[in-house]
């Protein structure tokens, strides 16, 4: 306790609070919530440290100067009071002691001012300009929306369509309005196809994105609890995502039917995809292994045999719908097969790694229950001498958190790994309850130091092992 209080009076405290702001992407609400629940500031920057950027440097200088000024003022006032026998000098002590607390809060002022006076007006201008660029662009615009699977879908489309067309896609997971505006600025203007990822975070976001980017085709990848602090319910999040379908008049919309939560939003005019069919293509003869998936697509006597190194049967639907769209866009079967073959697992998304004869599947960017369940199905299906499953659970699951984590626990037990390692958090008890409910017979370990575990994972595995790592919580969720 004393040590954690003393941490606030160490020189590095200024860096700690700027790190907290950076880790929460300079969002004031999450920063303040984290600040108010921190028990020990010495353990805040556990996994990462402050990345020195112009913004973080400026904030750090602001906090350091401010704190120094307050300390000097408090000392000067205290000394003056002692010299003059002024009893009000006791308040100088308050001023001194309150320095870290005061500046941990004042630090948000430049952010607020910057946001309202500079960033927001600038963003509005950029977004308005980008709307004109998108409107005048001759290419086919494909929007990809959903609570999960967007980035994977976008990358699949980029690789497959890129085999025969000039394609541009939004970068990595830069998927909000200002990112779309920056993407528009970089376009050459002669692209055949634009793939735009929609990163919804609050009600009305998808509507705004549609009005700016004016898509011709929409792909809805899935619905799962995410950003429920803003949406409140899964239904509200679904409505927001399905604005994309509404914008397109419910035509040229492809919906992932394997996402159960999407099913209530599906209309007859929507084209569906899953591991059984994609639009009007039938999918069969799926083979899944640690090397990837292989499947056959048939339609009107035409047959395509496709292989990809993406892991898991749940990837077949997105791959197949990309192939179907590519064919509609005029790509040859050869180009499609080559494009599908070129797709490599994406970083931290069902990404396999050979660790001296053991296979480690890194799915640490998977933060939704549907994706977790798909990964667990793969764990169950793949052969291995020993299977190990590692997860901290999910964040931001709202009121349903307990239910979702119990369901996750049951799915873990169904996959029947030999060893389950849970990173100890508040939700761990719910996962354990789910695991125990199904009579799990393997070994269950609760790990309190995830970073230490991940760093030393190679010490725990041997040839023949299959390890699935799902989701990873950053510092601000600890």
């Amino acid at each position: 306790m004393i040590n954690s209080i003393l941490e606030m009076y160490k020189l590095r405290f200024a860096e700690t609070i700027v790190y907290m702001l950076q880790a929460t992407e300079y969002q004031i609400g999450p920063y303040l919530r984290w600040l108010w629940r921190v028990a020990d500031f010495g353990k805040v920057a556990h996994r990462k440290t402050l990345v020195k950027t112009p913004r973080s440097r400026l904030l750090l200088a602001f906090v350091k100067i401010g704190m120094t000024f307050q300390v000097i003022a408090a000392l000067a006032w205290g000394l003056w009071s002692i010299k003059n026998g002024d009893p009000r000098g006791i308040f100088a002590l308050d001023l001194l002691i309150s320095t870290p607390i005061v500046w941990a809060h004042i630090v948000i002022m430049p952010l607020l001012l910057g946001r309202f006076l500079v960033a927001n007006p600038y963003s509005k201008l950029q977004i308005a300009r980008s709307a004109k660029i998108f409107a005048n662009h001759p290419g086919v615009k494909i929007a990809v929306a959903g609570s999960y699977g967007k980035t994977t879908m976008k990358e699949i489309l980029l690789t497959v369509l890129g085999e025969g067309k000039k394609v541009a896609a939004t970068e990595a997971n830069r998927n909000v309005a200002i990112s779309h505006a920056q993407f528009a600025k970089q376009l050459d203007g002669d692209e055949d196809i634009l793939v735009i990822e929609y990163g919804e975070g609050a009600p009305g976001d998808v509507a705004k994105f549609c009005r700016t980017t004016k898509p011709d085709i929409g792909i809805i990848t899935g619905l799962a609890p995410a950003h429920l602090d803003k949406y409140k319910t899964l239904e509200a999040a679904g409505k927001d995502i399905f604005f994309l379908a509404k914008f397109l008049g419910d035509k040229n919309v492809y919906v992932n039917e394997e996402s159960k939560s999407l099913r209530s939003f599906i209309k007859k005019s929507h084209q569906l995809y899953s591991s059984s069919y994609a639009a009007s293509w039938k999918i069969e003869d799926i083979k899944a292994s640690i090397a990837g998936v292989n499947f056959k697509m048939t339609k009107d006597g035409t047959s395509l045999r496709l292989s990809s190194s993406l892991l898991g049967r749940h990837q077949v639907g997105p791959l197949a719908v990309a192939a179907a769209i590519a064919r509609d866009q005029g790509l040859t079967d050869k180009q499609i097969a080559e494009g599908i073959g070129k797709i490599r697992p994406f970083e931290h998304r069902m990404q396999p790694r050979d660790a001296g004869g053991a296979w480690i599947i890194d799915d640490t960017y998977n933060g939704n229950i549907e994706g977790m369940l798909a990964g667990l199905e793969l764990l169950e299906e793949l052969p291995a001498k020993r299977k190990i499953y590692v997860t901290p659970g999910l964040v931001d699951q709202g009121k349903e958190s307990s239910k979702i984590h119990q369901a996750l626990g049951k799915a873990i037990a169904r996959a029947n790994p030999n060893l389950v390692i849970l990173m100890q958090h508040l939700i761990t008890a719910d996962i354990v309850a789910g695991i125990n409910e199904t009579g799990f017979k393997g070994q269950l370990v609760l790990e309190e130091d995830p970073l230490n575990f991940y760093t030393n994972l190679d010490q725990f595995v041997a040839a023949g092992d299959l390890v699935l790592l799902q989701n990873d919580w950053p510092d601000n969720y600890n």
Partner: protein
Amino acid sequence: MKTVAVIFGGRSTEHDVSIVTALASIIKPLELTKQYHVEAVYIAKDGSWYWDEKLKDIALYQSSKIEDFLHKAPKTHLLFDNGLTLVKSSQFAGRKMYRKIDLVFPAMHGTHGEDGELMGLLQMANVPYVGCGMSASAVAMDKVLAKQVAEAAGVESNPWIWFYTRDLARHHRQVMNNISNLKYPLFVKPAHLGSSIAISKVEKESELTNALEVAAHYDDKVVVEESVNNLIEVTLPVMGNDEPVPALLEKPAYKPGDYFDWDTKYMQGGKKGKMGNGDVVKGAQGYSQIPAKLPPDLYKKAEQLALSVYRAIGCSGIARVDLLIDSKTEKVYFNEVNPLPGSLYAHNWKAAGVSNVELVTKLVNYAQERWDAQQKIATSFSTNFLKQF
């Protein structure tokens, strides 16, 4: 939670290898089990004992910091008080710090540690310890005794002779006559050193004297043996007490005509001997082929011979048996036993499906199992001998 003392360093030419074995292959995985409190006990090159948390950091040994540490740190003493207790000065008000040890994990290589000396001390303290016992360690680390025991158990070595170093001067002619009965090329080895230190390959008689002098410089017993034609050198890590379990036969990767000397094993990361094909993996001691590509019958035969030697010498816990194979005649010869393989040969165990954490856990369990069994053996016998005296 059990307290495990990992003892490493020591007065041995393999001092530095021991540090790596202790820190990387034993202390780290032991701590990751969260089942043991691990104490690092370091024996300096002068034989002084130290016990400190700081000794778990490899950086300490990679710079001159170790000299400063040894200069300032209090030396550790041992107390045999119904087990083993570490004692050192707290450097505060003349008080002493004590740490009762539940189990010892020796990580010593070579002389004054791997050769049974340390095991004798631990046996006196009646504390469980990992690895081969005192007598097995002493036999295994003496290439002469090991070959004799193996031969008594029906496991042949390639033609060899041995002599005491003192006889090289006193009975020079006799020694040279004995050697002349062997066919060149020969290998000249000190009888007790590991890690291929001071081993020479002698192609012709003119090189012999120099090789004998080098070996004699390091040991009081020297072994001279014929080389094996069409040689395939393999090694097999084994663990267990009464029912030993083999890992995978491993074939060190080096060029034909070369051999796996100290420099190849430790100083070049195996680059000198790298085969350059996809079958090799980088292990604790360079690149190796795991499992060794041998005809299934020959593989089985070599594995069984290694297990026979392990049992004959009385090994327990862990050891590594080296074999020489004539690939044409498919004859398998015993070469030597290493009672505490460098880095526990964790890379091989890993390839055999045993993780580093599992390996140290199993070894601790074997140590406890052996100690429990030993406690059932009577060590006192009531007589009226003293009354009659």
